[in-house]
Symmetry: C2
């Protein structure tokens, strides 16, 4: 093919795989998704899954660059974490290929260090960061999701970050508690979401607030249909409250559209006045392209 | 029989039933447990289960007094919550019998009020409180468990309380998250428990601390066997950090022996110097007896 594709980009998350044909500059020309995330794959299963999903694209002979859990322990090839601060060039210099796949490279993860100890980890978000058009000396990027991350980026270098188990806790409460049983999907009741955010911003006792889901229901102030929104508000509000001690820096949100909207609302309620929104998959593709380019220099 | 039993006490929790033969004064002469908690029972199933478990005792013709979820909505008979402040006499005056069971009485639950609104609820702990030998004008009782409660008792009257979803969240994280998979049982590693408590007392960002379970494991500082203790420490520490009222009041712990031990350790780490420990089932039996006595006056 000669349609301008230059790179096959792979975002291999724990529970989802996304493969993209990427043009010069990082634009996504075509993309496919598959539920075979890295979480359930043994090391030797990765090549077959990738061929299943995008064998025709691989046949074009383009270089392949993967980020995310493909580089996790016990996955395609464990890529050691790079220690903060981490630049685009640091990531590009540390790419590695899985055994028997010289045309494939994997982006390493990043670990936050404090007093010489690893205190937090990311795999995938470092690539998104490199795909954002950050133009300040001191940026705060929020990547919402299963494991939400608040990331400090200084002049393009990842200097520090902190992970919140927001999305995974939301799912665990819905499936594993009495009050979660029968809860609807979120995004039905904006007022319930905002009530949850407001309460969590005002009160640090999250495990007590979680019980308020039940009390509000018993008092007929919260319907079953709205309970998931209220719970989501409590958890996202608690995440933002933990950052209120810091400065009200401008924030760049990078995630899926629906989550970006929820976080933008919650940040606004918390008094953040400057919030930019970026599309997660777009940032990942551009980051893969920029790392690929930097590695060829 | 003429062995001195004066009351059949029933503690019908969400997931467990306990029936006791109780002597004058509240001592437990004999007790039986059954897994048929009120959570899974329709209203008309209660008499049959009680007869299954203790039909021979019921045949003695003694009065029966039940507390806990037997009085919950959609259970044996819904007993309206009594609003704080609530005394022994208030509970005794509000007993009610389920339909067709005149020999059975059910203790009502209690609701905490703030600005005329119901802000928290209990069913069962009010009976435990009445069974404790509280002798101060201002007591703080902690009832650890699935839904841990911190209860203010002033001159024997329940004046305020707050519920923390500690135990239920612990279970939901163990069964519903990636990091929970393969976690052992708690009570294996006291140092890991204490490390969790200490971190949660120092840092209010609970959802970030929960992710530290994963980071500590990746850094080989926490074994799979010790992870449940560390997680338990985080959740109990967060509960204590948000303690009711904020003062370092003397605390009376009333729960199962293993939980009492964990909370006593955590309270000590938090600087609570005066902690008394009471056995939960003993307090429940004595509370049932005292309510029964007060209702006959």
């Amino acid at each position: 093919m000669s349609d301008g594709a230059r790179l096959i980009g792979v975002d291999w998350g724990t529970s989802n795989l996304r493969v993209m044909r990427i043009a010069r500059g990082g634009a996504v020309m075509d993309a496919r998704s598959d539920p075979r995330g890295a979480g359930g794959l043994a090391p030797d299963a990765f090549p077959g899954v990738l061929t299943d999903v995008a064998g025709d694209w691989l046949a074009e002979g383009l270089p392949v660059l993967a980020c995310g859990m493909a580089g996790g322990r016990g996955k395609w090839r464990e890529m050691p974490y790079q220690s903060t601060p981490v630049t685009l060039e640091d990531l590009a210099a540390a790419l590695g290929s899985p055994p028997g796949a010289p045309g494939v490279s994997i982006v390493p993860g990043v670990r936050a260090m404090s007093d010489g100890r690893m205190v937090d980890v990311m795999r995938g978000e470092e690539t998104q960061i490199m795909g954002l058009e950050l133009d300040r000396d001191d940026d705060c990027v929020v990547a919402p999701g299963t494991h939400s991350k608040w990331i400090s980026v200084q002049a393009g270098s990842i200097t520090d970050f902190r992970t919140f188990m927001t999305g995974e806790l939301f799912a665990a409460i819905r499936t594993g508690t009495v009050m979660g049983a029968g809860m609807g999907e979120p995004d039905m009741d904006a007022a319930a979401f905002e009530a949850g955010v407001t309460r969590a911003l005002a009160d640090p006792a999250l495990t007590a607030l979680l019980f308020s889901v039940r009390v509000e229901s018993l008092a007929d102030r919260l319907s079953v249909e709205s309970a998931a929104d209220y719970l989501s508000g409590l958890l996202i509000g608690a995440e933002i409250a933990a950052r209120l001690g810091g400065r009200m820096r401008p924030v760049t949100l990078v995630g899926a559209a629906a989550l970006n909207r929820r976080y933008a609302t919650a940040l606004s309620l918390a008094g953040f006045t400057e919030v930019r929104v970026a599309d997660g998959p777009t940032a990942t593709a551009r980051g893969l392209w920029r790392i690929h380019e930097a590695a060829r220099r």
